[in-house]
């Protein structure tokens, strides 16, 4: 029974964490965008606009959930839930610190990818059920992008699994005790480590539909993409799911390449290190978004199929060979 209560508490905490992150990452995003574009960004609500996300949240929640005529109602309703739930579920296996993990299961890494793949379904259903040309185009774009980038991502992950010999996230972190043992470095396991990191980082950007790979939401062409027809909390759920996915992507990078909750110098490991690394990466995501122009769809797909996948395959084979030799 204790276990059940513990899980419930974790679940509540995770949902709160995801929601807060979504809210404040938006603030970071808007502030960041503002400063990058020589503006100030939100400043009216609270000091430095810090209460802006709360106001936005209140607005979204109090709005009516419009269901346009002609949409496929059940699917239209399911899609945002499907976008949100897998994202929340993925947090379950993420080790924030050595002990702070909701469910420390052996195949945590696999589980995150399994749930991430469900997430694609949400985009597809949402876009299709909206019965809106822009939404459908956006859904097909987002899905083809997600599917193509999932392949190099998984292959890269396999190299890490091969090096660390585990799919348990906590164990992977425990092996990277200080900055010299992070899997990003060429001397840990595979001299292509930095390339693995870059591959994984690029794929995370694409998987989370972030610029420069945000073809699914190219607002200049597609209004708002697959969530064009969603109002109020329907949109809010998609939004939260999206930011939760960014956090998960950054957490994974942190865990796989940057030593997770381990301190770079071997001192005082704990959740603070995890959060520092996590938010540094999140900020990089924002930074990239506002400094790079959007690619084209073909460029995007070509990048994955013609470059990333072959490179990641070579990386995989090399890693296997090196592990065998060394």
């Amino acid at each position: 029974m204790n276990e059940v209560i513990r899980l419930v508490i974790y679940l509540v905490a995770i949902i709160a964490f995801a929601a807060l992150n979504a809210a404040y990452l938006v603030w970071v995003e808007r502030k960041g965008a503002g400063h990058i574009q020589r503006r100030i960004g939100p400043k009216e609500v609270g000091p430095y606009g810090l209460l802006q996300p709360l106001a936005d949240g209140a607005k979204l929640m109090s709005k009516q959930i419009l269901i346009p005529r002609g949409v496929d109602v059940p699917l239209f309703m399911i899609a945002p839930v499907l976008a949100m739930v897998p994202a929340i579920m993925s947090f379950v296996t993420i080790p924030f610190s050595e002990t702070l993990v909701a469910r420390d299961i052996n195949i945590g890494l696999l589980m995150i990818f399994a749930f991430a793949s469900v997430n694609i379904m949400a985009l597809l259903l949402g876009g299709w059920a909206s019965r809106n040309k822009y939404a459908v185009i956006s859904a097909t774009r987002a899905v083809s992008q997600n599917v193509s980038y999932e392949i190099p991502m998984l292959i890269t992950v396999i190299t890490i699994v091969m090096i660390s010999g585990s799919m348990n996230l906590n164990e992977i972190v425990m092996q990277q005790t200080n900055i010299l043992k992070w899997y990003i470095w060429p001397w840990t396991g595979n001299f292509l480590g930095p390339i693995s990191f870059l591959l994984f980082f690029t794929c995370s950007l694409a998987e989370t539909n972030r610029a420069p790979f945000d073809l699914g939401e190219a607002e200049s062409e597609l209004i708002a993409g697959f969530h064009t027809e969603y109002a109020g909390m329907g949109f809010g759920m998609f939004f939260m799911g999206e930011y939760a996915n960014i956090v998960i992507g950054c957490s994974l990078i942190t865990i796989l390449f940057l030593g997770g909750w381990q301190c770079p110098f071997g001192l005082f490991p704990g959740i603070h290190w995890f959060l520092i690394k996590l938010y540094a990466l999140c900020w990089t995501f924002v930074w990239i978004r506002w400094t790079y122009p959007r690619t084209t769809l073909w460029g995007l797909l070509n990048l994955s199929w013609k470059y990333l996948i072959p490179i990641s395959l070579v990386n995989l084979i090399l890693t296997a060979g090196l592990l065998k030799v060394m």
Binding site: N106, M111, A114, S117, L124, W128, A139, T140, V147
Partner: protein
Amino acid sequence: MNPTLLSPEGLSGLVFLGLVAVTICGAVIATAAKRLIRCLTGLVACFMGVAGLYYYLGSPFVAMMQLLIYVGAIAIVIAFGIMLAEPDEAKLVKKKSGLSGVLSLIAGSAVAWGLAVAALRADWMSPAVKLNDGSVRDVGMSLLTTYSMVFELVSVVLLVAILGSLALARTGRDKE
């Protein structure tokens, strides 16, 4: 001895029934819905229910692979097929005549009944001689020992599938 509803056994029983319900409902939607995309959603629900059952039965690895492969890949491919082939929402699956529905119901339930009776009467291997605990390590070990042949063969099968789809979908070699 009947476990009460809120005891661990009772709760896990509830979870099991819930998963079975999801699987069956998904299957019913997949076969009965009129819009193809809804059939697909039913199928996805069915896959998820089955994945849950695998997890429940102590094979988390298989459960995750089920999600990753069936929901993340197969269902997506089917969805793409539907989107590309049938953009017209007016095309609903045509209703068959009532008689064929009744007949297929009878035939289907007869088959289900037969299989169920055979399954219920059989002496299944008792779980005491279960081969392994279904963890990644065991799956990997048996793939590289007992089932090494299958493991190698599957790669050839995949090669055939990939090459075949490329060969059939390709155009333009003769244009060069």
